[in-house]
């Protein structure tokens, strides 16, 4: 039984990151994009915790950064959902391709 090494974590992080990125690229629904962003942020968190655990076990830098990212993600999510609700109120849709009123 092989032990779980740093690389395994990094692969999970990369998969999550790519999934999130792909979601952001392909979704037109604002909520979908938001979910992609959350996936990307959480892939970063996985990486941070993994690096913290394997490269500097006695230091709390990685965990601290991860906590920051979580807080940031919460704030971002709240903001983004607020924008989505307002977008819906104004144009009765959450399709970002149709939110073009700021285009020059």
């Amino acid at each position: 039984m092989a032990t779980i090494s740093l690389n395994h974590y990094l692969i999970v992080g990369a998969v999550l990151f790519c999934t999130g990125l792909f979601t952001m690229m392909t979704k037109r629904n604002a909520i979908g994009i938001l979910i992609g962003v959350e996936l990307v942020l959480n892939s970063v968190n996985v990486n941070l915790i993994a690096f913290d655990r394997y490269l500097g076990p006695n230091r709390m830098d990685g965990q601290l950064m991860a906590l920051f990212v979580i807080v940031l993600a919460a704030a971002e999510a709240a903001l983004a959902v607020g924008i989505c609700i307002n977008l819906y109120k104004n144009v009765a849709t959450v399709d970002v391709d149709r939110a073009t009123s700021l285009r020059g």
């Binding site: 690229m25 994009i33 073009t100 285009r103 020059g104």
Partner: protein
């Protein structure tokens, strides 16, 4: 009477014509004809005449000589301004001469104003198709203001200002009919000729200003006397021009102004042409008053004269009086004949001043003003009556048609000819004044050495006769030693001495100083006296010729004779002036001028002589002279009558016999022609040269500069600016636009595009770092391997 009573009256009299002038300028056309004329008569001259009469009566009969002297010394002076350190005072020159001149000007001018109304009602007042009636009287009022201001000026600066103003009025009135070419040409000629004289006047003024440090007449004289005594100031300069000292140049410069205004040789050419103006103007300005302003000026600055300057003045006067009298003989235009006679008489006045006959010259000025104004008014009457015919050859026999004019004219002829009974005091104006000038000239020419000697050695005689010359009876007006002290102390001393009835202390002082002045004054060249004497015979000849041709004999032109008539309105001024000529001058003006003489001629370097003292001390030669001149008019009258008695045949024969002489005289010694060649043609030539330089040199330089500028501008505008600067700016703008358009395409607003782009860039950056890191690692391996 309050303080400065006389000054206020005189100043009011000056301002009144100014009021009349402004009324006529602004409201003249509304007042119409003849109200505008009467406005000028009443306000312009009536008020001043009334004031002048008031002043004259209270001055002459209300004051004695002591109070008059005190009033002269304490005359009103207002410190107006300073130019540098030179104070400019505004004031009234108050002495008997001022009062006499003022009265003469207002009196003569008043009647000429009245005459003008009659004259203008008969003449066209239209210029350029518009009535200029009120303008004529506005000009006359302005002239009255200027002339009276000139007479009362106590300061050379203000005298000069009024001097120029009368010149302006003269110009305006000569050119009154300015739509006629000859009138405007005559006006310009008068103005330009006067400028030549005024140039000299300005030089004189500047010398007074710079060297004497004051422009006040009295102060200037005082400073001049002080400088003469101490040899400082103007006398400390070693400047010399034609052998003249700076002081002489100053005197001659001031006289130059008089040469222009009083039309003295060689600046006389404007006066005959000035007859293009209306006849009342000729009478007022160009015979009676303005032309006398030059004489008045010389009389006023007499105290600043030097013997050399006076000799020059005498020379100019002598030439003028002789040459112009000869020209008058051949004139056929009645006004031109009178104009040359005026020139000759002005020459007499200037000659008199040059000789030192101060009183006589001014006396002649007064008498001349009366009779010449009257003669001109008569000629105006004749011209008016003959329908603007001025040629005496077409007149003749007019005495039947215009008897009043005829006999008033005859009174004038007698007066100018100096008619009178020799050896008595019965005679007309010119009899006394011209005779007096000649008497002084005689003393200066023949008895001068004796006069000096007697003054030195014969102190007792001087005491016994007051200051009367023991040989000739010519009384010396001036008291040089007192004058050398100058200033204000003099009159007080004199007044005090007079009050005690004795002047002995000063007379005793006088002899030595007077003797030294005698020594410095040269005798008059004898030929000057002979010329003046000769002209005394010429004057009655041409005047009698003029009168005879006009009024006597047979009518020569039916048309003129048939229409000849007299205008009733013009009688009164003629009659009044005739009475003035007959009576007023001798009994009024002569004593007035003599009263002013003592202070006004108190010169440090020259002497004024009173030629009037016909005492027992007159020598045999002087008696001969009196009778010689006294008989002149009879001889000349007879000659004129003999020649012109039978019409124009006899004169024509004489003319043919003396053709070359006649030619010279008719052409007035070719002065106009010579001036035309030298000055007018010279001026035109200079203008042509200047024009050539301007056209071909200056213009071409400027054309070249302009062309070069144009090229540079084209280059800079088209090449540099349009293609260079604009190109750069436009290029920047266009490339920014293009670049922005290019960038803009990437800004789609689609989130996935940004994500793709960001991912792509991140991938590239990652790949680049990775590969570069690999090659660096290789390099590091290579370098480590070495």
């Amino acid at each position: 009477m309050g303080e400065h009573f006389y000054e206020i009256l005189l100043a009011l009299g000056v301002l009144s014509p100014m009021v009349s002038f402004w009324i006529l300028v602004f409201a003249g056309p509304k007042l119409g004809k003849p109200t505008a004329g009467w406005t000028a008569v009443v306000l312009g001259m009536g008020v001043p005449l009334a004031l002048a009469t008031w002043v004259l009566i209270s001055w002459w009969w209300g004051e004695d000589s002591v109070s008059r002297a005190a009033l002269t010394e304490n005359a009103f002076r207002f410190h107006w301004a300073d130019i540098g350190s030179v104070p400019i005072t505004l004031g009234v020159k108050l002495d008997s001469l001022t009062v006499a001149m003022y009265f003469m000007v207002t009196f003569v001018a008043f009647w000429i104003f009245v005459f003008s109304i009659g004259y203008m009602s008969g003449h066209s007042d239209e210029v350029d198709g518009q009535s200029k009636y009120s303008r004529f009287f506005a000009y006359l009022s302005l002239f009255a203001f200027s002339m009276l201001g000139l007479v009362i000026s106590s300061n050379l600066l203000f005298l000069f200002i009024f001097w120029e103003l009368v010149g302006l009025c003269s110009y305006l009135l000569i050119g009154f009919y300015f739509d006629k070419a000859y009138a405007s040409a005559a006006a310009i000629k008068a103005f330009v000729t006067n400028r030549v004289g005024d140039f000299g006047f300005l030089i004189g003024l500047m010398l007074v200003f710079y060297q004497l440090g004051t422009l006040d007449l009295d102060q200037a004289a005082a400073v001049f006397a002080e400088q003469a005594a101490t040899g400082s100031g103007i006398f400390s300069s070693d400047f010399s021009l034609f052998g003249w000292s700076l002081a002489t140049v100053m005197g001659v410069g001031l006289f130059c102004g008089a040469m222009g205004k009083s039309a003295q040789f060689p600046l006389h050419v404007w006066l005959p042409d000035a007859m293009a103006g209306p006849t009342p103007v000729s009478a007022l300005i160009h015979a009676a008053t303005m032309v006398a302003a030059g004489v008045y000026l010389v009389a006023r600055v007499f105290r600043l004269m030097t013997p050399d300057a006076l000799m020059f003045i005498a020379l100019i006067g002598c030439l003028t009086l002789t040459l112009m009298a000869l020209v008058a003989i051949v004139q056929v235009d009645i006004k031109k004949c009178l104009a040359y006679s005026t020139l000759s008489q002005l020459g007499y006045m200037i000659f008199g001043l040059g000789c030192g006959a101060w009183i006589a010259a001014l006396f002649h000025l007064m008498t001349h003003a009366f009779f010449k104004a009257m003669l001109f008014l008569c000629s105006g009457q004749v011209i008016e009556g003959c329908h603007h015919e001025q040629d005496m050859r077409k007149m003749g026999g007019l005495r039947k048609k215009m008897p009043v004019t005829c006999w008033t004219f005859f009174v004038g002829v007698l007066a100018i000819s100096g008619a009178g009974i020799a050896g008595t005091t019965i005679g007309l104006g010119g009899f006394f004044s011209k005779d007096e000038i000649l008497a002084v000239a005689y003393v200066r020419a023949f008895e001068w050495d004796d006069a000096g000697k007697h003054e030195v050695h014969d102190g007792d005689a001087a005491h016994a006769l007051g200051s009367t010359h023991p040989v000739t009876g010519v009384r010396l007006v001036s008291d040089p030693v007192q004058n050398a002290h100058g200033g204000f102390a003099r009159a007080e001393a004199r007044g005090a001495a007079n009050a005690h009835g004795e002047d002995t202390q000063h007379v005793g002082h006088d002899d030595s100083a007077r003797a030294s002045i005698f020594g410095t004054i040269p005798a008059l060249p004898k030929w000057m006296f002979y010329l003046a004497l000769f002209t005394a015979y010429v004057t009655p000849f041409y005047m009698m010729r003029c009168w005879w041709m006009t009024f006597m004999g047979k009518p020569r032109d039916e048309n003129v004779y048939r229409h000849a008539h007299e205008s009733k309105l013009m009688y009164v001024p003629l009659a009044v002036l005739a009475v003035g000529t007959l009576l007023a001058s001798y009994f009024l003006f002569r004593p007035l001028i003599a009263d002013a003489a003592t202070a006004a001629t108190a010169a440090p370097l020259v002497l004024a002589l009173d030629g009037h003292e016909h005492t027992a001390a007159i020598g045999a030669a002087h008696r001969f002279l009196t009778f010689g001149v006294g008989g002149a008019f009879i001889i000349a009258f007879l000659a004129a009558i003999a020649i012109y008695r039978r019409g124009l045949e006899t004169p024509e024969r004489i003319r043919r016999a003396l053709a070359p002489l006649h030619l010279v005289l008719v052409h007035k010694y070719f002065f106009d022609e010579v001036y035309d060649v030298i000055w007018v043609k010279g001026c035109l030539l200079l203008a042509k040269v200047a024009r050539f330089i301007d056209t071909w040199i200056v213009d071409s330089i400027f054309d070249m500069l302009a062309a070069a500028t144009e090229r540079i501008a084209a280059f800079s505008g088209l090449i540099l600016d349009k293609h260079g600067v604009d190109g750069v700016v436009n290029g920047v703008a266009r490339s920014s636009t293009d670049f922005a358009g290019f960038i803009r395409r990437w800004q789609t607003g689609r989130i996935r595009h940004y994500v793709i782009f960001a991912t792509g860039v991140a991938t590239v950056v990652f790949l680049w770092i990775w590969l570069a890191g690999a090659s660096n690692a290789d390099a590091a391996v290579v370098s480590a391997g070495m």
